[in-house]
Symmetry: C2
Subunit: 117 residues, 2 copies
DNA sequence: TGTACATATGAACAGATGTAAATATGTTCA
DNA sequence: TGAACATATTTACATCTGTTCATATGTACA
């Protein structure tokens, strides 16, 4: 068991980190989660697909604002779409999205409980 | 089995959504995850605590920049700290943080696999 | 007490972000 | 084809965010 110098310790930790590009992409994904409107959209389609107009109705926001946010969600592959005639239905893209929402919510609840003690 | 009017359908969905304040807080938490520097910090302390100077070393960023981001992480309860003399050690606050990082990474990997097909 | 060291904070600035308004695209159906 | 409808896109703008630089706070130890 040899002792590590500080420099060696830092190098080791640096080597364990995922590559910069991966960390960048990861931050980009979370950035997409980090907006109230987009969180609301994801929650509103958590139990099943909705079209743009329905989402606008539910959130009481303009069609333009919703459409912009849907594009961002779709680019990040958090949401997918399906066309049926004029109407386009949106739903969550994969199960990770719902999982992240759930764990985030759990985190909040746990922190709230801690705060009450 | 009665048919629902569009208005009733929207009202139902709206009623299933968590309260606005909760969705706001949730977005705020994800916002904190949504920065490359903060993601790097969280990853660097994933396997054990590090002090501010060590994190600065690993990420090759100024002490000030790291300290600012640590405060944001701490306010969001994603990170906790422990003082030992002059030195302050930081570590992840609860297991949800690591879980969210992991699921986010899984999501990216899965999307990359899909893209390769 | 005073010096050295570790970390935190405040101000300022460049760059990024979300929304509304207007307009464009794409689809259906007469 | 053209009118009507659903959604997407462009532009513009106000607001927010991360970093640097300078400085303050807090701790240990002589």
């Amino acid at each position: 068991m040899t002792e590590l110098t500080d420099k060696e310790k830092m190098t080791r930790i640096r080597n364990v980190l995922p590559p910069d590009e991966e960390l960048y992409d990861l931050a980009e994904v979370f950035k997409v989660f980090g907006d109230q409107t987009r969180v609301k959209i994801m929650y509103s389609i958590l139990r099943g697909e909705l079209c743009v107009a329905e989402i606008s109705d539910v959130l009481e926001m303009t069609q333009s604002a919703i459409s912009h946010q849907l594009r961002i969600l779709k680019n990040a592959k958090l949401v997918k779409s399906r066309r049926d005639g004029k109407v386009i239905y949106y739903s969550l893209d994969d199960d990770h999205v719902a999982q992240i929402l759930r764990i985030g919510t759990e985190h909040l609840e746990e922190q709230n409980e801690k705060g009450e003690e």
